[in-house]
Symmetry: C2
Subunit: 187 residues, 2 copies
DNA sequence: GTCTATACCTGGATAGAC
DNA sequence: GTCTATCCAGGTATAGAC
């Protein structure tokens, strides 16, 4: 088994989400983990392989979380989704999509493809939550559920980005707007 | 006078907004302009100087545009603001803020500072437009104008980013949501 | 699975001629 | 203002020993 592999993946994700894919090197990883450059290459022969695996790990984690949503109300699902971003905000990290999308044209094509898959998967799942919540009367809004899902994901994604640049309470403010916009009463 | 300087600035901005700051080099610029690496360095001694000047140029352009807003209704101001992003979307570019914010921690501090200034300037100006439009009865919404401005900028910014990753009509969908959300009747 | 050593390349940057 | 030439640092990646 290889704990090192997991450590590389996690550290790589952190580096992408704090500095960007093109701003970190194998050296950043090897030094922090106390190993050598070549050891990182043993686990991930190329930076492309590493980047692709990091996106895949993120997809896998979301699928695990999403499976748990079946036990939750639609309202709880949405709040749990927002909570993913809340935890990122607390660390001053962007989300993986926000970190990679701006430079997607400079990324290897395997990473581009996986990123597209991730975006569609998450968007579809959140849309489903909104549709069910509407049906069950947990949410109230007039727009198309998919359009609403796009707006929610978009605003959460960039609230993390703007938080890195601006001072103030932009994240909290955006979350409030979202909750209002689905007409969800919180306690 | 130096037309080359302007060409470098414009091309640099394009490269940042299509690939990201850490994914382009002096070579990308010199080759495209048919000059040599050293000529680029003559105009911008360091990449930091170039990046900072690009942000400044963007601020200057916004100030020019914003001055013209004094002749327009609040509704027209908002639509003109959205149109800035529409033009970016047509070229499949992100906005400068979206392009730089994700990797802000990897940028030279002069760029970081200027980026913060730009964000605050634009956000303040859009907030002002929303306040005036509310007062004059051109818009109708309940949230705080600043929170609404944050939501509009956030969703526009990331609709450009997500457009690069996803297929579909996310940009158009987001624009519709924004227009609905200020209760603005378009023709 | 990790090491040493190294190859190879690209990138930012500068000196000095024109 | 642009060129040639060059320096140096850093980055990805590989070969082969342990």
């Amino acid at each position: 088994m290889s704990n090192t592999r997991t450590q590389i993946l996690d550290l790589g994700e952190e580096l992408i989400r704090t500095r960007g894919f093109n701003a970190f090197s194998y050296k950043d990883i090897s030094e922090k983990l106390g190993i050598k450059n070549a050891a990182v290459h043993y686990h991930f022969p190329s930076k492309e392989a590493l980047g692709t695996a990091i996106i895949q790990q993120s997809i896998d984690l979301f699928i695990v979380k999403e499976k748990q949503w079946n036990q939750l109300s639609s309202k709880e699902q949405l709040l749990d989704f927002i909570n993913i971003y809340q935890k990122s905000h607390d660390k001053n990290w962007s989300c993986l999509m926000g970190a990679l999308s701006s430079s997607v044209d400079s990324l290897p094509s395997t990473m581009q493809n996986k990123l597209t898959k991730m975006a569609e998967y998450i968007l579809n799942r959140l849309t489903q939550t909104l549709i069910e919540g509407l049906k069950k009367g947990e949410f109230h809004f007039d727009e198309e559920p998919r359009a609403k899902a796009e707006l929610i994901i978009s605003s959460l994604l960039s609230s993390l980005l703007l938080s890195k640049v601006m001072h103030g309470q932009i994240f909290e403010s955006i979350v409030q707007s979202i909750i209002l916009s689905v007409n969800l009463k919180t306690k």
